[in-house]
């Protein structure tokens, strides 16, 4: 069940074009913070949502955007947008029901690990995702296992645990909509997010 890389690249390009909202492939051109302020809760007016419970809307940037906080330490270099550099790839894809990093993606994970080793103040979040099949909370578990398997590869290379955060969204943030294998294989993924903490 190996992914055809050309097909995948094409599919990802299609995703850019169709602007698949907040879970699109991380585009380095989005560094301008254009999506800031999308965080926080809406529609609190009619039901008295308790804001003291932590709704704040301003503490983090919207998804699909990174490198905007933490000053110079978090700004990413040109290598992240060079398509020939593995650092330009920040999504790791998985096969059905598996959390094992496929051979094709080992160099990508290794490149990010090297970058983190060289930049110990840099922090990433590994976002685990699954396809829509099966039950939702089980898929949250599966997404976390995927993120953890990427994290443990990085740690083996010496990356500090404190540089890596993990969150699993299960099937709740699909990169591709659709009910076929083409969509599913784009959704079984871990996104490496350089968004600052």
């Amino acid at each position: 069940m190996k992914l055809n890389k050309t097909a995948l690249a094409l599919a990802i390009c299609t995703l850019f074009l169709s602007a698949c909202a907040d879970t699109e492939e991380k585009d380095p051109n989005l560094l301008d913070g254009s999506k800031a302020g999308t965080n926080g809760i809406n529609d609190a007016s009619t039901n008295g949502l308790n804001n003291s419970a932590g709704f704040n809307g301003s503490e983090m940037g919207g998804s699909g955007m990174y490198g905007r906080t933490g000053g110079g330490a978090n700004s990413l270099g040109p290598e992240f947008s060079d398509p020939n550099n593995p650092l330009s790839k920040r999504t790791i894809y998985f096969t059905l029901d598996s959390s094992q990093v496929q051979q094709d993606f080992v160099p990508v994970v290794a490149a990010h690990a090297q970058y983190l080793l060289a930049n110990p103040s840099q922090h990433i979040t590994l976002e685990g995702h699954g396809d829509e099949r099966g039950s939702r909370e089980y898929n949250v578990g599966l997404g976390e296992q995927r993120a953890k398997s990427v994290a443990s590869m990085m740690k083996i290379q010496g990356v500090s645990e404190s540089q890596i955060g993990i969150v699993s969204y299960g099937e709740e943030k699909p990169a591709a909509l659709g009910n076929d294998e083409a969509a599913w294989e784009l959704n079984r993924r871990v996104e490496i997010d350089y968004q600052g903490r």
Binding site: A21, T38, N50, G134, E137, Y138, G141, S168, G178, N179
Partner: protein, 421 residues
């Protein structure tokens, strides 16, 4: 009891801006063959803003148990049993009929109705009830419940409410609660980040749910009447799948703070946490037995997800499902005799029930991507989420699989339905 209900409703209406449009339209995709012919005669009314008899007619029709007589086929419109000429209705092959009237008495409404047996020329039920204007739809659903129970012997579920998650666009997620007929949708919480897994407290006053609004998972408990909410779990990693204990004092939930996802029980008053499972596999989706003694959950410790059971005090875990390569998100019927779950085989996911005594599995739906099943409070229907193309919608199926209803949302995706207790 009715007084208390009215009081609650008044409180509800003070807080929420009532909306009276339907967010859901409900289609009956399959009904029982032996549907009972019933005529709900339009009630005599002095200007009530809600057509009570129309709401009752729609409720009964939606249940699939009854064949409703169209208004234009009615020979006349009696509003009390004295005005009924039973021979006329016998000639129309009606088994039962409902007549009634609504009188406005200074802002309050007096609603009276009678359920009549057309062949025995007699009254089966007769009620007179007072209702505020804001309460009229609920009064109508209450009447439907009374009629349904009298004619089928099963409790009606028309007064219940349904919580569900809906998205319009990928950055607008809402937890909503609507009446069981889709009217009065209220937004309970909204977030640009996902919301998941709504679970009603046994008294129907609070909902626990998962929110990613802080870019990580946390579990909240929100009181519907006040909108007050409390974050009850925000540990590193997964905070998921909250499920209320039948006595309302505890939540079973999934946490991965110690490594892999395990099942915990959180005492809501003391906030003490006890860990029920310790396993390297994914353990998640806990659900209590009705007597509170045990908890069923999903685990892939055997390779594929299957349903297991453990005492709610902890102890030996026992595998329950052996048929099919994927069984997940189990929950009990209120009598504890059956569990309903997502059953996967051959690449499709369907809703199935398992008899706890015989362990026999009965597949109720055709898939291919059915999920999030739960029993209606009356135990006669199962509510679940389905997908067709990009649209997610809710469906209900009877326990024998013979009756199906589809609840179609006007826009956006609807998922994770939960029927109020």
């Amino acid at each position: 009891m009715v007084f208390l209900r009215n009081l609650l409703l008044i409180a509800w209406c003070c807080i929420y801006t009532p909306m009276t449009f339907a967010a859901l339209t409900i289609e009956i995709t399959e009904g029982v063959e032996s549907a009972l012919p019933v005529a709900v005669v339009p009630f005599a009314s002095s200007g009530a803003p809600v057509d009570i008899s129309a709401v009752v007619n729609a409720d009964l029709e939606r249940s699939g148990y009854f064949k409703m007589l169209a208004q234009h086929a009615m020979p006349n419109r009696p509003s009390t049993s004295q005005e009924v000429n039973f021979k006329e209705w016998q000639a129309l092959n009606q088994n039962y009929m409902v007549v009634g009237k609504v009188n406005n008495s200074g802002g309050q409404y007096d609603v009276q109705f009678q359920l009549l047996d057309v062949y025995k020329n007699g009254q089966l039920l007769g009620y007179k009830m007072a209702s505020s204007e804001a309460d009229l739809r609920r009064t109508a659903h209450h009447i439907s419940d009374l009629i349904f129970e009298k004619l089928t012997g099963k409790k009606g579920a028309f007064s219940g409410r349904i919580a569900y998650i809906t998205s319009s666009g990928s950055a607008n997620h809402q937890l909503q609660v609507a009446d069981a007929d889709g009217f009065n949708p209220q937004t309970i919480a909204g977030s640009p980040e996902p919301l998941m897994s709504p679970s009603w407290s046994p008294d129907g006053k609070r909902i626990a749910y998962v929110s990613f609004e802080r870019k990580s998972a946390a579990i909240y408990v929100q009181t519907l009447a006040t909108g007050q909410r409390e974050r009850v779990a925000e540990f590193p990693g997964i905070n998921g799948a909250p499920s209320w204990s039948p006595d309302g004092t505890r939540l079973a939930l999934t946490l991965s703070k110690d490594g892999s996802p395990d099942i915990y029980v959180l005492n809501l008053a003391s906030r003490s946490l006890s860990k029920l499972t310790k396993n390297m596999a994914i353990d998640t989706e806990p659900s209590w037995s009705p007597d509170g003694s045990s908890i069923i959950f999903t685990s892939d410790r055997g390779g594929k997800p299957q349903i297991y059971m453990v005492s709610s005090q902890g102890g030996t875990e026992k595998r329950l499902t052996f048929t099919g390569d994927y069984n997940a998100r189990g929950s009990f019927s209120s009598d504890g005799r059956n569990i309903v779950m997502v059953h996967g085989s051959g690449g499709g996911y369907r809703i199935a029930i398992m008899d706890m005594a015989t362990k026999a599995i009965n597949v109720l739906t055709s898939g291919p991507s059915d999920e999030s099943p739960s029993f209606a409070p009356n135990g006669s229907m199962i509510l679940y989420a389905s997908k067709k193309g990009r649209t997610g919608f809710l469906s209900a199926v009877s326990l024998d699989g013979k009756m199906q209803q589809k609840l179609v949302f006007n826009s956006g995706e609807v998922r994770e339905p939960a029927w109020s207790p």
